[in-house]
Symmetry: C2
Subunit: 232 residues, 2 copies
């Protein structure tokens, strides 16, 4: 892990937001770390060497994103492991409940699952300080694994169109499980929930904003599904 | 994978060495890629979050080393997958025959196994052009994972000294399997063998040099074993 330089940060987030910032960075850090593990495992089960290299490189990008977030967490004076710990249970549960049956399901999970998570983190970060918001944007951009995965999945579906129904079903299960674990996090972590629904210290999003947020996340998700050639 | 820039290379190796260079870079590339996979899997089974992060970062360094080698292979006009392909069989066989029974054996394998492989590649690269030699040195330096792994393994042995006998036995098995696969590679790849034992085009190392090479590799290996607190 690179030593924290803190150079690129203007300063600490406002005190009222600090808990939410650490929570968001913690869940994001552990999400990146597990995405790294999953992609590294996907790389290993790739059917050929070229695909193996491409997916290993995607795993490397997740780790690079993790490094950026870890640096910021350390800058805020919080041990990275401590910031991640509250989210180990829900994220591990998500992965245990969505074990890909094969390589292709792993790729769909990486593209659809990581994509929806990134959108969600970006939307939340808009309610935080601009340093955090920019960092989350930057990590999401680092993750842009889109083209490579889309090409691989589309190639397989074109070769065997019959698999598309099963993959679409798989994607729906991923989203349902992600939502279910997100609700669990929301119930546990007032810091994050407060950003969206308001708290004594934070105004939160109003209902129209919430509708708009979920509308944008849904639209992006449908865009990814159609990129893969799957019906959402 | 980064696009090849070729900027840091003075030029092509001499024609008589080209085959050996491509072979050495190919075996090294696939070795790095599998070391990445193994460390990523070790990270996932780490007993705590801090260790998990440290080992994931080591995996990331193996991938960075892979990128450097892949760039050079592409610069030489050879597809990376093609350069690696002859070595997939022997390296996969090595990993299949040395599956760690637990996390600690995985760490010893990473430290002892990758260490001896790196020494071996460095010794061979001394017979090649200086660009290749420097690149192999640089990758070996990038891999310097020593301190982190040593600290973890030593800590576990101190907490439970009874495991050191089993781990020393494990390390001996790793070396024996590595030698056995290296012999298989040597029998198949005249390009590499020619460097050490000579061929119609290359003078090769003389007997005194061979003895010195294996002496240095053995000494380094014993050094790593004693770093871990194990008898070689």
């Amino acid at each position: 892990m690179t030593e924290p330089t803190g150079e690129r940060f203007a300063g600490d987030p406002p005190p009222a937001l600090r808990g939410a910032v650490v929570d968001l960075l913690g869940v994001l850090a552990y999400g990146q770390l597990t995405a790294f593990s999953r992609l590294a495992a996907d790389a290993e089960s790739a059917p050929d060497l070229l695909d193996r290299v491409s997916i290993a490189e995607l795993a490397g990008r997740q780790l690079a994103g993790f490094d950026l977030i870890a640096e910021r967490i350390q800058y805020l004076g919080v041990p990275v492991a401590e910031a991640m710990r509250p989210f180990v249970g829900p994220i591990d549960a998500f992965h245990q409940r969505t074990r890909p049956a094969n390589w292709l399901e792993g790729l769909v999970k990486a593209y659809v699952g990581d994509g929806i998570a990134a959108d969600f983190y970006r939307e939340i970060s808009a309610y935080l300080d601009s340093d955090t918001h920019q960092l989350v944007d930057r990590v999401a951009a680092t993750d842009q694994a889109g083209e490579v995965l889309v090409k691989m999945v589309r190639g397989r579906i074109e070769a065997d169109p019959a698999i598309s129904g099963r993959l679409a079903l798989w994607a729906r299960r991923l989203v349902a499980e992600a939502l279910s674990q997100a609700q669990r996090v929301a119930a546990d972590r007032d810091n994050l929930t407060g950003l969206l629904v308001g708290s004594s210290e934070l105004p939160g999003a109003d209902l129209a904003e919430l509708v708009a947020i979920f509308g944008r996340i849904t639209t992006s998700h449908q865009g990814r599904m159609s990129q893969l050639g799957l019906s959402a």
